[in-house]
Assembly symmetry: C2
Homo-oligomer: 461 residues x 2
Amino acid sequence: MTKEQLYYLKKKFSNIALIDNSSLEKYGKDETEDLLFPPHIVLRPSTTEEISAILKYCNENKIPVTPSGARTGLSGGALPIKGGVALSMEKMNKIIKIDENNSQVITEPGVITQNLQDAVREKGLFYPPDPASKGSCFIGGNIAENSGGPKAVKYGVTADYVLNLEVVLPNGDIIWTGANVLKNATGYNLTQLIVGSEGTLGVVTKIVLRLIPHPTTNMLMLVPFYDAKKACEAVAAIMKTGITPSGMEFMERDAIQWTLNNIPNIQMEINEKHEAHLLIEVDGFDESKLLEECEKIAEVLEQFETGEILFADSQAQKDRLWEVRRKVGEAVKSHSIYKEEDTVVPRYELPQLLSGVKKIGAKYGFKSVCYGHAGDGNLHVNIIKGDLTEEQWNEELPLAIREIFELTVDLGGTISGEHGIGWVQKPYMDIPFTPISLRLMKEIKQIFDPNNIMNPDKILN
Amino acid sequence: MTKEQLYYLKKKFSNIALIDNSSLEKYGKDETEDLLFPPHIVLRPSTTEEISAILKYCNENKIPVTPSGARTGLSGGALPIKGGVALSMEKMNKIIKIDENNSQVITEPGVITQNLQDAVREKGLFYPPDPASKGSCFIGGNIAENSGGPKAVKYGVTADYVLNLEVVLPNGDIIWTGANVLKNATGYNLTQLIVGSEGTLGVVTKIVLRLIPHPTTNMLMLVPFYDAKKACEAVAAIMKTGITPSGMEFMERDAIQWTLNNIPNIQMEINEKHEAHLLIEVDGFDESKLLEECEKIAEVLEQFETGEILFADSQAQKDRLWEVRRKVGEAVKSHSIYKEEDTVVPRYELPQLLSGVKKIGAKYGFKSVCYGHAGDGNLHVNIIKGDLTEEQWNEELPLAIREIFELTVDLGGTISGEHGIGWVQKPYMDIPFTPISLRLMKEIKQIFDPNNIMNPDKILN
């Protein structure tokens, strides 16, 4: 961006612009490792029309624009790699309408996911997808990355709830992608093309989500295993009973131990012999039905050599257990420099994935801490820098990651379940896709964004 | 297609070619009105490689190729409008693998949907989408049109079950669109771009579907209403209780009466005063729970002035009631020349849609018979030719249909819920989409199919 262009943007959008250094630094980071790519200017529009005007100018002048949500992403999707404009959605933070009659909500993208969930819950309605960052992430970011979270095993991911989107295209044109309906066989599915496109095709400015009745009750149990592989095997065995838990989270010992060390107030101890835990939640509308389900699950677990199962007996205890799970990522981060890989496989292949990851670790000399959404085969592999040299970390680790991803794809899976490709996973896109598929994606990008201004250098090379 | 090209195809693919007149006529029709567009040749490949070779030749020689399933479609999607090759998928009819461990099935596209459902049911698994034609339609056609059916209200549509597709592109290249996983944040969603694209982007040759546990029990009730609008209002009221029926079908009196006239063996009578019926099914794993749900539904219905509710008391009676519902389309067809519109709106807007359709009918002088999947706002509007002159039918009716679709879109809906756009709804695509969105779709088409050989003249002009 030239000085003149920066001056123009600053002047034209003076009431919504930030250019002080600390703002540029703030908007130059997300939660991905310690990466920093400051923009030239931050703009914080509050209307679709403002966004349209900004994009039109930037498109005509080929200025990079990176949509910026709450910057909680883990693949660097919100980093302004090429500088230019960080387009913060924080002022687009209104829930426009909760439509109880049709079980839908229309919202702006800058609403915090938890706030959206709370608002619809007051009407008895449920928006299930809840990434670990739900207390701070924006619903717009969830759309961009097709976020998942623990409830996906029963309720699906963000994509499964998106009915219709208002999108500003890079040239400033405004479209709606679909209609506010549950069934739609009308032309190509532009809605699902935008979901998960990580801000590379346009800026989402309004979102229509379907909602479902909110379950009225749930039960939670923590199951310790002497063998981590057995924990993974237990997941597929539980699903085969016909019960679909609303959460089935896997945590290796270190994941849980480091988290406990990191949250001083939590009264909880784990046994050193327990290599892994499953946190299993069932939910529904009928307590006695859930009790039956828990009994059936406990029965299945008997085959897998578990320690004593802990049933949460109060809301406080449930909150505590979920807090531990949600804070694993943070704890690993505070413990060491690390890289997080968001592997996903068909759930029955999880034990193979886990042991493969450990073998690759042994070969390259790194330690990994694994945890994640075992119910849908989504394992977060945290590779710990520990004693690795800079050379090993920078030169050899990419080869190890490549091996992990190749294994994932061999098992029928892919390289990101819910974090997206963004900036950091881009070098690995040749593993899940052939050059033919990648070419199709690049050409789709070009249709939407011929000047390559929208979040450039993300997903595709 | 030139004589030389026809000769080449006939010779090269002699063992899978049909060119006799009765075959050309057979493959020149589907279930859409009485339209007939015979191809020059029918090819019936049984492998992906054969399809790749056919497409490669046709692409190089710009010969139109229309994928052909069971030809049960209602928007003319399988009609070879420009002649060329009808590419029948009937020999691609193997279920490749039922993966019980991961609750998935891998299938070829030429499997009859009902057969697929039956095969997975034997393993306790459930593939819910079941269009009225499920006994004859192909799963590949369901992917092409994003089929719905009565169970969509609870279980969603075809798109909601598709994880991954093998697709032959027009130039003969073969890709997989995604991975066999429940969560995927890896690049643009090519899978959902293919679903519902009606064979205009490539040929689907393998399909990976997710499955769910099969419910073990269900209950069915038929509810008569003195006022059709009240029946529509009841639908939203039932959904607001938090109960999600597994079917909630609306039928106007004529729809049900004509069907009874058309199925001589069915012992059932309806009261002339009942303007409409709702057929309501609940399903699950616990009979006593379903009984509670039925009672709650009956309670809600008390506000809507119904006649006596019929609870099906045997499997035979359930089958009979569903048969009546499934055969409405056929019955209307055998009664009169007609046109079927596949309107869909947010379900609470259904009463407005119904009364709007009747008003438009009064204005243009046509009678309509309406029925459909009220639970998800999907109303099939059958416009009866009756006494209309040819001129009225051909010149005025398109204006009336335009008014119906404009109303649909004004109510937040769109012009096809589950039948697709195909050939017959193409003139109305300017109603749900602006020129900008249509241009994006055309450019997507061009990326996949630069020579415009795949099912040309469908969806887009």
